[in-house]
Amino acid sequence: MPDLETLAFIVFFVAVVSIGLSRSWRPLDRLRRRLTTEMRVEAGGQPVHRGEEVEALVTITSVRDLGSPEVGVVCTEYYDEEDTDSEGHKTRTTCTVLVHESWTPVEEIAGVQSVRLTVPVEAPFSYEGDALRYRWELVARASRKHRLDAQVKTPLSVLP
């Protein structure tokens, strides 16, 4: 019979894996961002046009436990689809898929670092529709030992 601590760990592990393996990794990302206090990311100037560079300003306040920090430009497609259950009831759900991501390492030092990232010319532009949305974000992330990885993000406006 496992002790209470082991049992708690197993429950936590199963919950984390279940959430993580769901349709997207967003629930886990949300938790990562909530638990991240030692990193920040901002856009130096926006909006940007496709094909242009965006300046990402990454602030690291503490490098303790942070490993391999990097910053990226990420575009996610949100699209609505109709799901039908076994009784024929239809529901509208929003699904997500990663359209673009590119990552650049940043130095493992405390302070502000400026990184220039390119938005590809063939990528989507920011769009907020009824059934379809393309959302861009600047994301900074780093690994952490025995804890959820650190992650912070900020919205980015991309023009055609």
Binding site: G51, E52, D80, E81, C95, V97, Y127, A131, L159
Partner: protein
């Protein structure tokens, strides 16, 4: 039910340009009104929505006879977004000729390419 042919000077436009063309009636029939609209549509596998619509107004009111032709002009908005297609969705401009008829309306649709305003070099 009528049948139409959409005649365009070209099929690629820049934001702010005017789409000029004509609607040729190939087969006539009963109609209350004939018009053309330029729409920006979003489409996923299960859903469709018109995000922007620019209407010509009525080009003709009343029944249509084969051989009739109606010219139209529609301006592409200056801030028009371009067409884009991704894995699960699509954004596109389309001309929609509509004859308002008793019962099911007749449509003749044609997609056009729209190029967004070029990026400014200074910011």
């Amino acid at each position: 039910m009528s049948r139409f042919e959409l005649q365009l000077e070209r099929e690629r436009f820049k934001a702010g340009e005017t789409v000029t063309g004509s609607v040729l009636v190939v087969e006539g029939g009963g109609s209350r009104a004939l018009g053309v609209s330029l729409t920006y549509n979003e489409k996923t596998e299960d859903f469709f929505d018109v995000a922007t619509s620019i209407d010509s107004g009525a080009l003709h009111e009343g029944d249509l006879a084969a051989g009739m032709s109606f010219a139209f002009e529609l301006m592409v908005p200056i801030d028009a977004l371009p067409n884009y297609e991704s894995e699960h969705g699509e954004l596109y401009w389309e001309l929609d000729v509509k004859s308002d008829e008793a019962g099911r309306d007749t449509h003749e649709r044609r997609r056009i390419e729209v190029e967004a305003m070029p990026a400014r070099t200074e910011r």
